[in-house]
Assembly symmetry: D2
């Protein structure tokens, strides 16, 4: 009932599945099953690619439901396991191993065979992207689809295990094919043209990617680094500064490595940890190139802050607590700044004010808003949670990696996008190498966020003003 009703429409679907998804061999003969001919896998891939979106859902539902685990044998073995609890350990281990084996979905073997043909791994990565979209969009809520997703994630995690990844430094000498992809995949600070791209792989910059033997020429996750004198507090100085294009690096001016963009390129590898490992490998790489370098930090965007803030203001207004978020003095200044009348309407004024980027160009408005927005933003990053973890996904990523929420930077991104997303504020997540392990464990297990005094100070100002 909860599974997607299967359309009978796609001719050959049942026939193909029955043919290419071999039954799970018995436990005894599990090492005696020759791999099917490659044509099997190729046929499956070809058929799947030929389906339209709707038929893919039907196909995956059928595959996952009709070619999954043989529940009966699992339950029979469970009975047996309970019967053997008083027997010797060898017997218990044996029954457990049979259960483990019988918990293999029948389709898992097929996925393995597909991974071995040319283009097979990429096919499976894309197939998983389809599964994730089906699940996220609730197109299907079938538990079998979820199981298929889990099985595939497990396989991909092994195949994309960090030992199998290759770190590549991308330079202007790298193949055009890979640089074009680097350019396309850059979502954080879009690359405007090839001069821009050239600068991002030029002097005072480093660009690294993980690639994988089974997906040649395809960067899986890309990290852009700027080499600076101090920890950067402004992104335009990194992505817009043209002076760096032809200059030679002066190693004496390089004290800090700023991770200013990290992009995963494969939707289908969601949940397969790559970014974390890439940052750590790059730190090692940079330490070997610059032995004295001691400052590692991100300069990160804060997507979602503006819309969260608009929501917050709307809610405060609705609840008639409009005056709570700012001090009286601050409200006064806002009023003066926008020539508005006091009281609840001011909340609207404020909302309107930050709804455009005009205030950025007024020194006075900017001065009035700085303390207000900074402490609201600090709270957004530090205090707003989802299941106990930071609501902001970028914060969550770096905190998982063990970084410290180190510094909020005012007027750090004056691009239209930066102003629209986060009122121009950016944040440094700093990697203190001797503490990342501890921080990561504390965050993941106890949901504790490591933060600097600046951030904690802003948070406590927020709490005081907001009467929380």
């Amino acid at each position: 009932w909860y599974s997607t009703p299967l359309r009978g429409g796609v001719p050959g679907m049942d026939e193909i599945l029955a043919r290419v998804v071999a039954p799970l061999p018995s436990y005894e003969t599990r090492d005696k099953s020759p791999p099917p001919p490659e044509s099997n896998s190729l046929e499956f891939m070809h058929f799947y690619k030929s389906l339209d979106k709707e038929d893919k859902v039907g196909f995956l539902s059928k595959l996952s439901q009709d070619f999954g685990v043989d529940h009966r044998s699992v339950s029979e073995l469970s009975v047996k396991l309970l019967d053997t609890q008083l027997r010797d350990q060898a017997t218990i281990l044996q029954v457990e191993d049979r259960i483990r084996y019988n918990l293999t979905p029948r389709y898992k073997q097929l996925l393995g065979h597909i991974s071995r043909v040319e283009g097979g791994v990429k096919f499976l990565v894309d197939l998983r992207a389809d599964l994730l979209e089906i699940i996220a969009s609730k197109t299907s809520e079938s538990p079998h689809i979820r199981e298929l997703n889990g099985t595939l994630k497990g396989l991909l995690s092994e195949w994309f295990s960090v030992g199998l990844l290759r770190l590549e430094r991308i330079t202007w000498q790298s193949p055009c094919e890979i640089l074009q992809k680097i350019s396309q995949y850059e979502a954080v600070h879009p690359v405007r043209n090839w001069t821009d791209l050239k600068r991002r792989v030029g002097p005072y910059r480093r660009c690294y990617a993980f690639t994988h033997a089974a997906m040649p020429g395809e960067p899986l996750v890309v990290l852009h680094v700027a080499l600076t004198e101090d920890i950067a507090d402004n992104i335009q100085s990194i992505v817009r500064e043209f002076a760096t294009l032809d200059s030679e690096e002066d190693v004496n001016k390089i004290n800090a490595a700023i991770f200013y963009s990290i992009s995963s390129t494969q939707a289908g590898l969601q949940g397969v940890e790559l970014g974390n490992y890439l940052i750590k490998r790059v730190v090692r790489e940079l330490q070997s190139e610059f032995p004295h370098m001691a400052q590692f930090s991100s300069l990160s965007p804060i997507p979602g802050f503006s819309s969260w803030l608009q929501g917050l203001l709307a809610q405060y207004r609705k609840e008639g607590r409009g005056s709570d978020l700012l001090s009286e003095q601050e409200w006064r200044e806002v009023e003066q700044a926008v020539d508005s009348t006091p009281g609840p309407p001011t909340v609207d004024s404020l909302r309107k004010l930050i709804g455009t980027s005009e205030w950025m160009h007024s020194e006075r408005l900017s001065g009035v808003l700085e303390p207000v927005l900074m402490r609201l933003c600090a709270w957004y990053l530090y205090g707003e949670k989802r299941r106990g973890y930071a609501l902001n996904p970028v914060a969550n990523f770096h905190l998982q990696n063990g970084a410290t929420m180190w510094r909020l930077n005012w007027h750090a991104d004056s691009s239209p996008r930066g102003v629209a997303n986060s009122c121009g504020i950016m944040v440094n997540y700093r990697y203190f190498l001797s503490e990342t392990s501890k921080n990561s464990a504390l965050y993941l297990q106890n949901k504790v966020i490591a933060a600097s005094e600046q951030v904690l100070g802003l948070v406590s100002q927020f709490q005081k003003n907001s009467k929380l």
Copy 2:
């Protein structure tokens, strides 16, 4: 009682294991466990390498026994699974997934972490070689050791999945490091010197290896191919022929590809199918280089034939059936050849005769022995079984791959080793590409051996003469 009694001797063993083998996170928090610092894995590796052989056994026993599956939670979940049998599928799948998760040995995570540090994969391959030796030598018969072995094999199978391997053609332009290893690993027809090696990667020869990103510079399995006019019936013409060294290949003289040596180099990858895939990849490679090539065949040694034959003769003599294996006419010829008296002693004469290589140099003796040894050898390869599969390991390998037992070749290997192992006989396992899939399945599932008329004819002569 059946596990190896653990020596208390190695200081720090318990302490280290307790520290580096983290508990399995709960099912709920399984995605929230940060990886431990690399130093953890490095410490484990360093400690293990520092142990002597005996302590390694103790260490692995302890690791596998004390840090394996939590049996109690598995059995509790089994009870739960049985309780949910009438519930909806989502619930059943959920409980099954918990069982699957809880069947993970605690040490499995550690193995994953080790695979990610530099040299980690090679460490695990070597660790598994230790496990296999412990099991083969019955140093320990602990089921936990076997489980550890199984777990590790499973992981290695994923990491060394064929999609992740790289095919490399080895030539005289390849790095010296890799050629030196190729030379060392060649076990079938040992390389005598660098001129010999140069010829094996020179004209009319191909040498291919699988390598793996995690073990750079290390050929995992090596295949030597000779390009010939006809399917070769003699190994000396391949490994000793010096004329080929500087000549140019004449593509018109290349009709057949002879796989004359295949060597696995990593004991720890036993059971991880590589050779089969290598042969198939090489066939594809050769077909693209020589589109009209249609003959693919091994020229394989028959290790164990001589000692099997000696055993057989000893047994026949003991059973007083000495006269059975040869026809009267043949016995007479043997008698004449060795100037012996008839009857049971002749068996001894025969044994003694084939115990040295002298008969090879006598055309008469050779002529007398040819039909006898050829049919005995055919029977040894075709008729002698272990658990239903060919006893001879080389035969078993090629038959699993789907090859046909195609031709026995008399006087095919006149090297001392060849004569001692198999009375100079060698065999071609031929790869008919359109039939390997079918053959492989028939052999693995029904234990049917595909054989040519020549082989079947020899087998039936053996049966007739041997009164089987």
Copy 3:
């Protein structure tokens, strides 16, 4: 008097020249002169680069005039040579060798030393570009400047001898750096964007360049090839056809190789034959990739045709021979087409007509003009000469290489540039491989142009109409 008056202005010029340009060692000690320290060459390079354009002229004049050949010793040796005419050959050879040695300009050694430091060869190539510009612009008419130019050309010819060049195929996998340069250097059919560039190195296209060890990453001459079914008669089908971007090449559709663009990138290598050799190497390369390919041809622009034509018409008009170039019937058609009155003014109408591209869009006008412009163009290419060789530089290049003037193509380049330069006409110079040697020699030595019947037919029509 004819040499550029040297400004005394640049401080240090005399001092530097005196220091870095060592005297020519005596004939006897010529092999005993250690190379000066590299700093010598670097200082020269640095000094020269720091000069502005005008000072460079002064500097080069001084270098070439004051540090050239020692004329007195040459004339003394000439006297000696005449004295030895009746002596033995060994003596004659010796004196000749001394003359040869003494004809070495003193600065030649310095040029050799510069070529050995990093970036030195590129420096000299650029220096020669300066010399060529000075000569072409008549900034200086000093014979010493010309001698310096000749000396440098000789050296560059040796260093860029074809045996030292490396053929590189440029693909989308080539380094971005080189592809960007390929894009910049493409002067014939400008690359619009990176998609355009990707197509020019994609399926059904080949792009080759010569590079040189001393100038890494710098393509010296670039040849673009289209692989087509027939010899192409239209450039837009090559540089604008988007369908080819992702398709796979079908080898059965590849019968012809069309050289549609060849660009030299280094002004300083003028006169050092590279393009000719590149075309010949590429032909070999293509023959080995497509053994059955038999058609090799350029599809070439005709720069200068339109302006030549305008000049011709202006002159005819001036000479009152306006009516000569077209037949009466043709004049009538032109008149009708432009609604003009007959007589001399029509020449103006015609000039005006072809001065814009509007006629291209009118089928009628186009039909009227085709026979006229085609025969005029044929004459321009075939009949107009400079010192006996084809006036049109592209024609001259391919004819020197031994190509045949094969086919004029109407409506072959409808780009604004194509219409403006040559009324949209393009020409195929075809390479009949068995005849290029002969053609080349005939052209270079006897100024004979190999042309097809189509071209010769058009030429004779022109002659008939033009009353030549």
Copy 4:
């Protein structure tokens, strides 16, 4: 009359030469001569290679004599040059340029064409090796052969100009092909086996070679370097020390770079300076790898010392000055050491003594001989001259490069070869980087040898004892 009489024997020789060696174009058309077809060059190469040694001499004689410079036109132009002496410089330069052009031997163009075909440069290098052998062996004393040699040397010097060479570091990862050649070419301290070779490219060692684009895979000159704590005084510690094979380099133990072997591999490149440039490039390379390294020195053999010494002793004896070379005290010690009687026979004893290596194993004999042989050797290196330059070729090489004769080392090479060549003595030529330029010029121009106090002290001891 003095040229080799040409045998009429080789059929086709005249015909081929007449065909492939084109006449020199006139000065006016010199840029209008298309290159001949490649087949021309290939035919020449093939023909030459097919000749036996004697015919090669004949062939080269004919080529050089009959296809050389057109003497008449040179002498005519000489007359003209003298006539123009009072004319303007442009005219003089023009006539000079015509002379220069007409001094081109007709065969020079052919050599250029050959250099452009595949394998052509290597062919010419080998051809020059033949010429050098003909000249050295006085097989021919033709001045034309010498002129051909000079012309070819000039061309090779341009093609092998240092800017065109590529420095390659050779390691155990280098292609086997190149390592095998490195092994074969090592003439100074022969490589015994592949383990030996592996060590010479392993830790604490560097091996560099120059290669050239036109001769791929062929090291032209090879330099072996040992990285040591102090300047090495013993070669066995470098080429025999096995401990270094698997160790990691400890950068703190690396203070000095010892050039312990340099080998040119191409006889035909004699006189084309490569070794000097290689040493200088390697110094730069090492300085960039080890910024603090300040000691660069060779550890060089002294070939010829023993035979020079034997000759000296023989001559002294003949001249009855036997007692001159040693002090009375020294003679006494020699007498005692060999139990000989005094007087002239002692010279023979001494000759006999140093004729074998036995004295090396006697501490007493060794102690007696050390001061004697060291000062004789110092004299041999420093005082013995050929045309004013050091007689010893290794000394001459390093002194030309600007090195200082720094230290003679006793018991430095105890190999049979070392004892036989130089009584086990070796010498360090040290490269003081700030002085090599000056030293080189002083040596080459003024024949001044830079030497250390140790060497000068030994020399003056020799002079005192030898009553020179």
